[in-house]
Symmetry: D3
Subunit: 132 residues, 6 copies
Amino acid sequence: MYSVTVRDHMMIAHSFRGEVFGPAQRLHGATYVVDATFRRAELDADNIVVDIGRAAEELHAVLAELTYRNLDDEPGFAGMNTSTEALARVLADRLADRVHAGALGDSARALDGITVTLHESHVAWASYERRL
Amino acid sequence: MYSVTVRDHMMIAHSFRGEVFGPAQRLHGATYVVDATFRRAELDADNIVVDIGRAAEELHAVLAELTYRNLDDEPGFAGMNTSTEALARVLADRLADRVHAGALGDSARALDGITVTLHESHVAWASYERRL
Amino acid sequence: MYSVTVRDHMMIAHSFRGEVFGPAQRLHGATYVVDATFRRAELDADNIVVDIGRAAEELHAVLAELTYRNLDDEPGFAGMNTSTEALARVLADRLADRVHAGALGDSARALDGITVTLHESHVAWASYERRL
Amino acid sequence: MYSVTVRDHMMIAHSFRGEVFGPAQRLHGATYVVDATFRRAELDADNIVVDIGRAAEELHAVLAELTYRNLDDEPGFAGMNTSTEALARVLADRLADRVHAGALGDSARALDGITVTLHESHVAWASYERRL
Amino acid sequence: MYSVTVRDHMMIAHSFRGEVFGPAQRLHGATYVVDATFRRAELDADNIVVDIGRAAEELHAVLAELTYRNLDDEPGFAGMNTSTEALARVLADRLADRVHAGALGDSARALDGITVTLHESHVAWASYERRL
Amino acid sequence: MYSVTVRDHMMIAHSFRGEVFGPAQRLHGATYVVDATFRRAELDADNIVVDIGRAAEELHAVLAELTYRNLDDEPGFAGMNTSTEALARVLADRLADRVHAGALGDSARALDGITVTLHESHVAWASYERRL
């Protein structure tokens, strides 16, 4: 199995609901350094998993929808705790939609899966892994 | 599949028995930067894999049992080569015990697995992955 | 010249005023991975610059005053752009106050300087360096 | 499942054929920071996956066949796009050959798999994973 | 003293002349992860050293002049060993020219200095520091 | 001012004397990831600060004198707390001796200074900087 990963980041504000979150129930923020991994069993005709430049552009586009925002004000996240792991799934699903729509090229439709990892600090990160 | 990882470290002395270890048969030491990864298929009612703060506390507690010690003198490791990979299993098993005992909260009992990675330097690390 | 550095982090929300900031004028947030460096020309009687454990505790205490907060609501930052470089100074000055107050031990009064670096992402960071 | 990873690097020149590569069709180069991961279900008699020193030596030997070269001039790569993911497979296969030939020791023949990851920059990397 | 640093990268081919370079006399290549640091004694009216977005754009523009190229073919480097440290100076001087030309904004003319660091691998890097 | 840095590591056991060290008074150990920086005002005839390969070899040789040892048993460290910052000086002085003895080549005698940084974990490191 082959994989290619590209890295970018976003900077958002949000708060959590639930006693388990302690002081993180207050409005605060995070830089998420985001790794998007694309997997497939065999390389395409160009001998690649996916074009790294195009993968980076699509990841950047997906992050542009969220960065420099207060996620508490985003209608799409109403009533949802935007935990690091939950955001990993949001990003993976949005990247999967773009793969299916052909944004990463025709050959990318043969991808087997995507993993998105969000690093919230030097000591904590979370991932979501899915099939395509 | 979702995962959450927390990082901490421990600093120990030890020696190895066996020609394969060369100069590492002498008493020496290591800083292990330790990553503990918790996996589950679905998020809990708070939309998380496990509370990151609580995961960090339990990892710290498990490392506190070993750090600033000479592992050659620990009864639990008598006659055992405390290699990086062997220590990864020790830590994963101890974290699993804590999960089963409820130390990471009730919802953490639904975790599917744990992986522990010990970085012994910038050029070498080892992991142990297990189910819960 | 000797130095010792300890690392910790904080997660805050804030916004900026001024066209130069573009989309960062919206409420957003950041994880700052914070490095505090303590410098001195000669080591103390224990052969150290400063106790690393105590330095880590004081850095943590200084960050605890800001983390999990919206800096736009902090009276101390009213009318101030809390840029990464400006926050580096705030933290360096607060650490310097603690050094002068003896929080890092008597021998730490012989420190020559402090540098604080805030990493706002994997591709951007800022520092403030001062004498003691 | 246990694993051990060692890291080294190589510095090569190459060019790509195909419009998808854009400016990377020109002769350029890369530092690949290379991670080789060895996996097995149970530890050997010395309580290790593989000797880390020996693993590092074999990885270094495999990289020495390619480093400081223009891959466009290597007969073994004629007509092939030496993408990061394709090179990950080349290195994994060469390491597998060495494992089978006994270069990592007799007990290493019980290894279950190898993964090779090539980091081409701080924002992009690729992997190939195979069984042994 | 304040500073702000931004990071980007370039991927080039080149060769060296001189016995000291050993196998690096052959045509090979490198990824340089490049950090550009801007220093000044006092912050500007927006409370910043320099706009991080603009600094990142100018660094990217300077790197775009060299990336995906064989430096042996660049007229500007004829007869010159394009060592990591020499390239650090080239980039620092080109950034300084852009600062002087106003590309980083009017307030950036008050910058005191620039340092450029090129990481050629996980185990080697070089810097050039200059005044403005 | 130019600089070149090379990285390597050592793994040692030791203990500290003095209440300030708390649990670190027990025999424990550390991996030190060691960065050696060489500085000079002008490049040499080959357009370099120092040959990176040779610098890496000399750093490795200096570390080989200490790695895989219990520093408490080393006669040269009798009665001395081998703190991270104190070891940084030991290594810087030993590298300086090698520079003066010509081990880094004749042109390296024009070096202006050396800095050695020892990373003891992902959250703490120490440096010693000296002139040549």
